[in-house]
Symmetry: D2
Subunit: 289 residues, 4 copies
């Protein structure tokens, strides 16, 4: 583990950079100031980059739009690898017909629809259609009534022996400077515990996220894991997952891990990043400005 002052020196060392989104590129109050310079430099240097994010609330196109709306044009849809995309791949490969019941917004389900499967919110499942339900997906914490639909979900899973897929394993997400919201991964964990079944979980630290990104790169160029670095703010997801997949990793201090806690948390968890760096932002001088 090395402390590095200058994120530029990290970029210079690798050919491909994987970025976590929340806490690295943006926070609850918008883009991390100056992050556009990092992408300008990446482009100038012909480096590849991907956003590897636990998010199933929207399609990559919609996720990219939110960066564009803030003026960061470098994050295009094909640069985004989300845990929602793994859910979609799973359904494409493993569920051939029938209904996929979901917890989440219509927008999160719309995105799955494109697989040709019929999606239906849990609230609309009843005796007339329950036998056609072939999978259940936890997409988002919004878009449904927690009391009635979480109770319905418990009973759906007791009546039907079907795969339950968690499209984002995060338990919480930041909603303001001080407050967290319970994420769909937190709700799914409660239901999994209650019904005693084993759910299929997508999202960092699971390797399948990194593999998905890695495969996309290999489709158009040769690459080795040694040439890739994962940049994240969370030891338990970004750094643990990146390490396990065999990548070098950078812990930045603009999100979940505060500068004053970093070493203590590394010691306590045993999750060791290759580098620690204050942020993923480059100074203007990096661009010769």
């Amino acid at each position: 583990m090395k402390r590095i002052e200058d994120f530029k020196s990290i970029i210079d060392r690798y050919d491909v950079i994987f970025f976590d989104a929340f806490g690295v590129l943006k926070t609850h109050s918008g883009l991390v100031p100056g992050i556009e310079r990092t992408f300008a430099y990446l482009t100038a240097q012909n480096k590849e980059y991907y956003i590897v994010t636990n998010d199933a609330s929207r399609s990559p196109a919609k996720l990219a739009q939110s960066y564009h709306d803030n003026g960061l044009w470098a994050v295009s849809p094909e640069r985004i690898i989300s845990s929602g995309m793994l859910t979609k791949e799973y359904l494409d490969l493993k569920v051939n017909d029938g209904i996929v019941a979901y917890l989440g917004t219509t927008e999160s389900a719309h995105y799955l629809e494109s697989t040709g499967i019929h999606t239906m919110p849990v609230r609309d499942i009843d005796a007339s259609n329950i036998d056609k339900v072939n999978a259940l997906v936890f997409m988002d914490d919004e878009g449904f009534d927690w009391f009635s639909d979480l109770n319905k979900t418990v009973n759906l899973l007791r009546k039907r022996t079907i795969p339950a897929i968690v499209a984002n394993t995060d338990k919480t997400y930041p909603i303001s400077q001080t407050d967290l919201g319970i994420a769909v991964g937190g709700l799914a964990g409660m239901i999994e515990n209650i019904v005693g079944k084993k759910f299929i979980q997508f999202g960092k630290p699971d390797s399948q996220m990194f593999m998905f990104a890695y495969d996309i790169i290999r489709d158009y160029r040769p690459i080795s894991k040694k040439q890739i670095v994962m940049v994240g703010d969370t030891l338990q997801t970004d750094i643990l997952g990146g390490n396990k997949f065999g990548l070098d990793t950078v812990l930045v201090l603009t999100g979940n891990t505060r500068a004053e806690d970093a070493e203590n948390r590394i010691t306590a968890t045993g999750i060791v990043p290759t580098y620690i760096c204050a942020s993923a932002v480059l100074g203007p001088e990096a661009l010769g400005l």
Copy 2:
């Protein structure tokens, strides 16, 4: 472990009988038919009995009322030991002033009120009063908005270092022949997991429930654990807890454990009741009818 045909022979062997409520005395559709004969026999034989129940939704008086409404007058308030009563004792002993925030119905909170502490639903906690909150209690799964109040609870516990008390550790409860509801213990488990703190949990199988009942008896008569038997329908709460406290135990098959599964579940869990008996109901002949 012995299979016993006749619940009467069990009563005859002990001086005090502890009954679980749900699945033993009543089900979602009312009292277990004939259970009034068991209490008639207990009374005729001068045996003591207590209902030892994971329930914090109402006071013992209200719980007893629900039996009276169904014609079972033998279950008087002083015969009921609920996990809610342990919560009340905890607050009486350990919380001296300020606000006790709660998740549950007003009825469940009213019951705590009698301790002289000011209770307040989580939805009413805000910047003006959060510093006065000295405890949080999970009383019932009803009486609040799950989305807004569970999220609020997470942030309350991140801002205040206070005890969080779970007044009923059950994760689910039956709401019909086929369906379960998520109980407050299930919700509390999710929050405990999210905030990473250690909650104070009341309810079987924890020994404190049995001790509370045992103490009440000892206030008016000498008793040894050998003279008490615990009757329940659930291995993980009634039987495990009774065994650990040192009591003999009877598994009845009118609730959570079905006759055809009983032996398999005993083998799988390693939780062994002293006896298995079809139900806690006596035939009319037991009363000489």
Copy 3:
């Protein structure tokens, strides 16, 4: 939570003091210097005291002897409440005949023997006697071969549906200034996880420990929980357990919890002692010296 400079002011406030042993009265290198003054003061003030300790390696008599050998005569056998004593009570109440197989030293088993049950080390269980084994107890991490006897224990529990009792739930214990040893509770946790059964666990933070001590006091004098304080060095056992039982609690900083970490750990765990005090030692002036 209040920081208190002077342990004497705590003693003065209560009628009965419960002490944890390790980290409070002694450490790996012997008695905490000056602790004899605390007991001299307790005696002078006619205060009651008990040592409430997760230890099943020896009988109370042998445990007391180890204090006497170090010159602390105040700790007599009848002042010691150990998790081993709860195991013994369990066996007395619940196991009537046959063999109790054990993992631990002969000394730890000898102590159970007095219940009239036949104890036998796991290594001596074979096809000729396995059908007579009616309970398994985890007493100590020493006295057996870990490889052969832990493997044997797994298979014993797969073949016999019997209660498995963990006589000390601690996962580790200190063996030097820097090193820990794996305690029998750590080994039992592994076996419980592997066989998927539910073990009966004795030891703080479980209330049954406190209840056992409380009952002993009530045999000879009236007492309320308000008059008792629990003194310990470990949040997860001494303080959580004491709080839950309804006692006031004191965290001392002579053992597992270091002064510089105390507040952080209280915040992180949500386990809040009534007081924090540097140690349970009184200065000479407390005795008028």
Copy 4:
């Protein structure tokens, strides 16, 4: 989920077959009788196959040798994908110098040696070399003294902030018709729980196993996940992992899952194989004999 009588019809449907080893190809008493016909048919049909196994005790060469010794020549080293190989890849990518401490036999370590890193059994770590230890690997349950070396491992991980890698996550393995042995994954789970750190775990159901095999195939031919089927005897590893990776799966009943339990366990766990088939063995008629 479909019950299929004839394993041949499964082979005919896919281009690549992944087999679990234990419980599918062999049992504690040797090869599953007739399994050589399955490989003869695969060869005749020009189908690809891989053995995907949680095993880190030996190199692929040694594992293959054990099949050859039993007359099954079709299982050559390059057909074997073991969790040990992922450990080796991890060390190659992430640990550049120093000592890799290990628990296991010399044979299991010898295999890692080839990466150019210096391996050393935990028993030989002492004050003179502990600062050079840059990783710890759990390879096998044999080859070390459980008492002294597991205790040493706990203290090594408390003193050094280094990655701990579990090369086989299985908790047990069969050692006879009736008995299990504790596997290195069971021991590692205990240590992880005790030290409170996060270990890097390799082995099914983790996707990285399947990805490793998938990558090897893609090096020499185009393939889609739809063309591959995973055959295993264990729901929690083979079937869950195969499903999650997006493969079709076959549960065979020659190992951990007995025919009479299969449906119950599928319902209880919610892990649903694409097919259930009595075994992976073909009848002589499949080969036209």
